[in-house]
Subunit: 377 residues, 3 copies
Amino acid sequence: MQIFDIPTLKSLLKPSLNWLLVFLPVAVVLRVWPQLGNETALFICSCFAVVPLAGWMGRATEELAEHLGHGIGGLLNATFGNAAELIIALTALSKGLTGVVKASITGSIIGNVLLVMGGSILAGGLKFREQRFNKTAARASTTTLTLAALALAIPTIFHVSAAGPSGGWTQATEQKLSLAIAVVLFVTYACVLGFELITHKQLYASDSQDGEGRKEASGWSVSKSLLVLTVATSLVALMSEFLVGAVEAARSALGLTEVFVGVIVIAVIGNAAEHSTAVMMAMKNKMGLSLGIAVGSSLQIALFVAPVLVFFSYLFGRPMDLEFTLPEVVAVIVAVHLIFQISGDGETNWLEGVQLLSLYLILGILFFYLPERAHTG
Amino acid sequence: MQIFDIPTLKSLLKPSLNWLLVFLPVAVVLRVWPQLGNETALFICSCFAVVPLAGWMGRATEELAEHLGHGIGGLLNATFGNAAELIIALTALSKGLTGVVKASITGSIIGNVLLVMGGSILAGGLKFREQRFNKTAARASTTTLTLAALALAIPTIFHVSAAGPSGGWTQATEQKLSLAIAVVLFVTYACVLGFELITHKQLYASDSQDGEGRKEASGWSVSKSLLVLTVATSLVALMSEFLVGAVEAARSALGLTEVFVGVIVIAVIGNAAEHSTAVMMAMKNKMGLSLGIAVGSSLQIALFVAPVLVFFSYLFGRPMDLEFTLPEVVAVIVAVHLIFQISGDGETNWLEGVQLLSLYLILGILFFYLPERAHTG
Amino acid sequence: MQIFDIPTLKSLLKPSLNWLLVFLPVAVVLRVWPQLGNETALFICSCFAVVPLAGWMGRATEELAEHLGHGIGGLLNATFGNAAELIIALTALSKGLTGVVKASITGSIIGNVLLVMGGSILAGGLKFREQRFNKTAARASTTTLTLAALALAIPTIFHVSAAGPSGGWTQATEQKLSLAIAVVLFVTYACVLGFELITHKQLYASDSQDGEGRKEASGWSVSKSLLVLTVATSLVALMSEFLVGAVEAARSALGLTEVFVGVIVIAVIGNAAEHSTAVMMAMKNKMGLSLGIAVGSSLQIALFVAPVLVFFSYLFGRPMDLEFTLPEVVAVIVAVHLIFQISGDGETNWLEGVQLLSLYLILGILFFYLPERAHTG
């Protein structure tokens, strides 16, 4: 297929991601002849195969957005930018794995904010003494992220407060509360899009100008973009089936908890493509764009993906609430607080990358040691 | 009476508030002939009647302050600015409704910071692309507010830590702790006044210059100011009697919890006048003044009204502590954090108003669903 | 001894600290003839005697650092700046007093950030209307401090989450978690030193230039520095023996809890020397240096002393975890948050000093009223 053959700039810059496509046929083989491998191998192979596919989905979405103009194109990017995560989560949700789904929401936020952003700031900071970006745009994003982090903490606070013999906590109230919060977050996301794409698009314009490196030279046609999008999405859906089908067996084989798999493993896979792009942008001293990718992706997860998952859970007849475990809530809040503190002055240096990565490591250690049933309060 | 007859600029600008005076006689009628209505109607009517009266009290205080010069006048404003809330709270305290009183303290802070400020920033932001104000003055206020929010969380942390079989928590220690914190907050308030009115008054001077819109054309005489103040205060006291007397019956009739009534209902009523002034200032692009009203009112509640209520509770022989429910503590801290984050850069836009209002909505939802006895821990 | 005889500038500026050396022989006498006094008197005398000795240790370290050049000298300062605290803590650790040791870690952080910094800002602010300092350097320090505060909260969050019948919490996991976090903090400290001493030393250079007041006129020789360092360190070790030996008896005689003694008493003693230097610098309008001393000392405690104590605890065969009581965790986080908020704009005024001191007072009240066994959860 022409798309994969021609060595584009992107494929040369990050060869590792496309090479991972080799795991796609391996995963199919493992699934068709189960006697060949085991569930753990299938899980790992489909995990690896999702990474480049998510990258192709993102690429195709951006190329398509290019043709649709700033407004609609921006909306497309804003809604389908995390489509791979959404597909995996919906597949898991349809199988009733709400624990993993919820953990992957918090994990995506933490991963983008600490791992992707920390890695980008460190990589950029090793090349440049100081990197600057638009302070107001960064503040708008991190403040919305703060709001989202606080909103996602509310159901847990509700549970802790209303639990106990005289508390009067019920599952039904928890779900109503979560649904109402999901609606508020969804509406807030619409406002954020209005701000970024309509009323204050100039704040982000300087980034787009910077952003020429992002759209790259190629310039795909609409039909090519649609074809790649369709193929990559179908393959991501297939891999999600494999991945979700094998996750429980793989978990117990590897001795990992549900929260650890959701927060660390699934989140890292789903965001690998963003990670590689954000780091590249940082190394080109386009810090505003790098921050936009990482924080924007977190925002999308919190304000769009999470509410959509709640809405879909009602369609599947298995209502999902937004109550997270206490460590997840704490992790999201502290991660968002640190990125606010670091990005608030409009400049970064390598030490700030180290600080974000240190926190990611510390939270990873916490989730690693956390026993299986260690839920709220 | 001349005061209400002449259509001043103010009355033309916010006709809705003065029109609410119609509820004053209705409330009196409902109280005198109980067979006519019910407690819920009385509660609602006296609630509405308080709104314009509080506005007149505030107006009269400001006019009086004008005659007394900057120093003493500022002190007057600073101590009587929330007199309506104080009267309602003292009435409730004398009847032993400490739950409602405490909830109205946290509700006033949250309401001013999120609802009043969010509404002002949104209203102003829809007219002006960006609104600027003195960063240093804003930081001084929000930092003091942060301190107050943390201080008000301490008794709850004490309870959570010291509770349990081996904890050694006692009601008496809780009260001593609360009293000591109230004293520290009161002394801090004196320092804040010294900063604002004496040592750093220049920071606030640019606002006052702006603030000509606030004092308006009228220029009441001292005797007129005193007369209005006396009449309005007496009527607020009367309405408070009605309101507090009917609150329990109205609560159960409407199916609302004590915390919801205190945090949302009472707080909205007591701050309606500030709300309307702050929004007007924002729409005139006097953001510094708008912020000063909303954040200043929160500060007054936390550093002056709350300690005074604790002191008076000893006079009434029903010592009130400063232990709040966990959701209240969380709500105050997150509200204060968001306003700090938003005001820290000395400029606002409409999205920041939406963010504050979203958080208010989310907290309102939390308090609405929270069952009655869902207290700390 | 010549060192103590010649009235240097320093000794004239802070005579009070050196006068405390009189408690050194008193403590020895009390220890040798136990019938003369009691344990409480011994505890108090050795406490007072440590204060000037810690000052001499710090002075000698700085003089030595002067001879070793910027890089190695900075490293020396960074590792031995809190040697007195480290000696006291190691002595207490070897006797199994882990409660006091852990409380002294959090107490040192809180004390430096709130008491030392608050006192300095207030003292400086009473002389100067506004004091400015390098914003970027301050942000780098306070962000690292935020990271450290969050890291130190993780084991407590782990305990709260994993406790309970189905939680699966074990002491061994807690220790492994703490050890892993200690390693991450230690590595982060190495990065911070690399930032401050190598890659971004210019940020701190303006402070050093300012800092001529710090190195003072004297210019000790290497041998004199080493002699003073050796003598002062030995005497601190001796006083630590006395102090730690008497602490339990003194505690019960004075009716103070373990946490109060660790958080307030030990922390104040260990940081008295920093306090006096930081206040002096602030009064000379060298706010950057003052902030550097107080925040730098906190950083050293959190990122160097705490991990080293964990490592040594394994040598002593009594593994110490990093789980603190809930009030300690809250106190550290709120203290660090307030200093971040105050120092974020690169300028201070007297009110900000009052705010920090108010919070210290409020936390002191909390720890004073907290009953003995009021630990996490």
